[in-house]
């Protein structure tokens, strides 16, 4: 499957060798406070003093409003829904968006696990990138559990995006 092979390539690029990881870090680009990986997918940034970029922080906030009630604190999972740290090791941003927007169902006699389609929900849709980069920061950026201690200020671009996405005048 194409998805799987893209996923594998992604793993190879990001994770398995620490020097490659360092290369990945070096190839990251920043524009208006938003970080982008070499392959163009959104990514997090954690400065040496632990300051996270705005979008990672925003993802933390939105996660603990929209996702936490099923997936538990900090992406750790719960008795109700699986943890997200394992799957996010390999999940690409397009795959992530697809699942969040359209939902997912496993309904069998022994298991009824249903994730709703959240694509209509502005509180989620407008923060897809934020949620993704937050979880990636948890998975492979070493971001510890809990609220990030320090964050960058909210960029003007984030404000503008929010207003446009919520349909403000």
């Amino acid at each position: 499957m194409k998805r799987a092979s893209i996923g594998l390539a992604f793993v190879a690029a990001l994770g398995l060798l620490s020097n490659l990881h360092a290369v990945g870090e070096a190839l990251k680009k920043e524009k208006d406070g938003k970080w982008e990986a070499a392959d163009g997918s959104p990514t997090y940034n954690i400065a040496n003093d632990g300051t996270v970029d705005w979008y990672t922080f925003s993802g933390f906030r939105r996660y603990h409003s929209e996702c936490h009630v099923c997936h538990g604190p900090d992406g750790e999972g719960s008795t109700y829904a699986p943890g997200l740290l394992e799957p996010l090791k390999t999940m690409t941003y397009p795959e992530f968006m697809l699942i969040v927007a359209t939902g997912r169902q496993v309904v069998r006699a022994d298991k009824q696990s249903v994730m709703p389609a959240l694509g209509d929900n502005a509180n989620v849709r407008c923060y897809m990138e934020d949620l993704y980069v937050y979880l990636k920061a948890r998975v492979d950026g070493g971001l510890p559990r809990g609220r990030p201690a320090k964050r960058a200020d909210k960029p003007a671009a984030a404000d503008a995006h929010e207003k446009a996405c919520f349909g403000d005048r």
């Binding site: 604190p73 008795t79 209509d120 809990g146």
Partner: protein, 606 residues
């Protein structure tokens, strides 16, 4: 209770002449301590049994008599019912009902499994729990997750009628039990985290026809409040008591859902219950037109309604303008105790907000309001001076006001957390000691509200929160306490590693039972909380302990099967931001102690 026994004896003759009404049948059946016909034990919600074979001296000898696997993995709340020789066990979604033969160690007599659209699962905030069946007059009343209320023939499991109470597409779901009162079934609704407008509805017990519906918010004609006759704190509520306290039409998606317990007093003919939080969790978005806090009535309130008409006799709002998600849905326990040296007919309520209230249940007069966890810090207390304009209102400590700290800012160290000092897990009252036995949470939080938009059927939360064990305490996340509701004092408090998320049972044997999230069934001495017995069941306990008697022998039973809000919040363990990064993971995660799976465990003396 003697009064109830007398009443049911005199009503037996009437019942002979005409079709028995559930009220009489419930009174008659719940007066028999061998049985359990309501989740709440009796109409008063006391959760006390007159059975005394198992007592302080011999409880240490309890052994497992038999067990039953429900075949369902989700969180198991509530308790099985016992009527005659049959036990009725319910499960979380898919809401199976089993009728088990007590004469044959729980052989399955019949099984009922409804077909429900699985799309209801993700709109149930915090697990697909279900707090169980109610029985009246040969009928089991089963309220499914998708809000279908089904009347089942208790002998055969055949459907007599069914009716749909809400729309899961709008986030309306059910987790609660129902209460048969007179010829009616009283039914609530869940979904405040989806902007559902809460209501209570009465259906005809024989046909399922809708008889009245009372919303928590909106115009007087829809909330069934009489501006002159409905009282609050000794005064008529006046015209538009709800509408006046909302900004614009926010009340239409304003929450105040009714997913807790109902109690009933046949003397006053009143049904008592609590309403949940206003939606959203972001108080800034709910401020009044002048930008100031506004009450959002009648969310977060205790409401007493006439069982026949649904009209509200009195109401009391505990947490006006909620800023912390302190739903007011916990049980209302009715008891007759001395307050200030005088016998009073009271209603006692342990609220999520950390305050325990004692009110006169006839008039709604506020008698006592005190913290039942000394670490509660968001309020300095409730004003009890009748002449004060603040009478009956909790005084908010500015440091812990998420509204005053503001949107996009983090308010730190609020106690209790949104879980509340207690959630739905019901307390018990023992007339032997006149004490209330209360399962509690001992958890605090940081809370940051922010802007959200409303979409029907989608979460409408608007705050991010981190929870942690109460700082500067015993390090655990729960306590099991004994409470004196006349004086507002904790009599004893037993620390627990995790929140106590299991309903308590008080007995005439002087023993109080409860379950723990690790999975222990515990028995403690009613006098001082000394632990007399514990047994580790197969999974964490969020069910309520019940007792029954069969062929002259007393049994104690409990559902285990971890889940619910407790399982979501505590599975991975909590972190304490105030102790810095080094402490992360230093607190016990529930997943290190227990895993999913529903089992009923039944205990007896050898």
């Amino acid at each position: 209770m003697r009064r109830i026994a007398l009443l049911s004896a005199s009503l037996a003759a009437i019942a002979f002449a005409m079709p028995a009404m559930p009220n009489e049948d419930v009174l008659r059946q719940s007066a028999k301590p061998e049985q359990l016909v309501l989740q709440t034990g009796d109409y008063a919600n006391q959760r006390f049994t007159r059975l005394d074979q198992i007592n302080r001296d011999n409880v240490k000898n309890l052994k497992v008599a038999w067990t039953f696997s429900t075949g369902v993995l989700r969180g198991h709340e509530g308790a099985p019912l016992v009527i005659g020789d049959i036990m009725y066990v319910h499960t979380p979604f898919p809401n199976i009902v089993y009728a088990l033969d007590l004469n044959e160690d729980g052989k399955i007599l019949w099984k009922y499994e409804p077909k429900q659209d699985p799309s209801v699962i993700p709109v149930m905030c915090c697990d697909t729990v279900y707090r169980g069946l109610a029985y009246a007059d040969g009928t089991l009343y089963h309220h499914q997750a998708d809000t279908t209320l089904v009347a089942l023939d208790a002998k055969t499991g055949k459907v007599k009628w069914s009716v749909v109470n809400g729309d899961p597409k709008k986030g309306e779901t059910n987790t609660a039990t129902v209460l048969p009162v007179k010829d009616k079934i009283i039914v609530g609704i869940s979904g405040a985290e989806f902007g559902v407008r809460g209501h209570v509805t009465a259906y005809d017990a024989k046909t399922g026809k809708r008889l009245w519906r009372a919303y928590s918010t909106g115009p007087d004609s829809e909330i069934l409040f009489d501006p002159e006759k409905t009282m609050s704190l000794g005064k008529p509520v006046g015209k538009d008591s709800s509408l006046r306290t909302w900004n614009g039409d926010q009340w239409t998606i304003g929450g105040g859902t009714t997913w807790g317990w109902f109690s009933y007093d046949s003397e006053t003919n009143l049904v008592y219950y609590g309403t949940g939080n206003p939606s959203t969790w972001n108080p800034v978005q709910r401020a009044g037109p002048d930008g100031k806090p506004i009450d959002q009535k009648w969310t977060m309130a205790i409401i007493a309604r006439d069982a026949d008409t649904g009209m509200a006799r009195w109401a009391y709002q505990m947490t006006p303008f909620d800023e912390w998600d302190y739903d007011g849905v916990n049980e209302m326990i009715l008891a007759d105790i001395n307050v200030g040296g005088k016998p009073r007919k009271v209603l006692v309520h342990f609220d999520r907000n950390g305050l325990a209230y004692t009110l006169d249940r006839v008039t709604g007069e506020l008698l006592v309001a005190d913290k039942y966890d000394p670490k509660v810090n968001w309020t300095s207390g409730v004003v009890m001076d009748r002449n004060s304009p603040q009478y009956g209102r909790p005084q908010v400590v500015p440091q812990f006001s998420t509204f005053q700290t503001g949107q996009d800012k983090n308010t730190k160290g609020i106690c209790p957390a949104a879980l509340g000092t207690k959630d739905q897990q019901p307390a018990a009252f023992s007339p032997r000691t006149n004490l209330f036995y209360v399962p509690t949470n001992h958890v605090c939080m940081d809370y940051e509200p922010f802007r959200v938009s409303y979409t029907a059927g989608q979460p409408y939360v608007g705050a991010t929160l981190s929870m942690f064990p109460t700082p500067d305490s015993h390090g655990g996340m729960g306590n099991f306490i004994a409470w004196d509701a006349a004086t507002g004092k904790i009599v004893w408090s037993k620390p627990e590693k995790f929140s106590v998320w299991s309903g308590a049972l008080a007995t005439a044997g002087g023993v109080v039972f409860y379950g723990t999230l690790e999975g222990y069934l515990k028995a403690v001495d009613e006098k001082d909380g000394t632990e007399l017995f514990k047994f580790k069941t197969p999974s964490g306990i969020i069910g309520n302990v019940m007792t029954y008697s069969h062929k002259g022998k007393q049994y104690v039973a409990v559902l285990s099967g971890v889940g619910g809000w407790a399982g979501i919040g505590l599975a991975a363990g909590l972190t304490n931001p105030t102790e810095g990064l080094g402490a992360v993971g230093g607190y016990a995660g529930l997943r290190d102690y227990t895993a999913l799976g529903g089992t009923l465990t039944v205990f007896a003396l050898p």
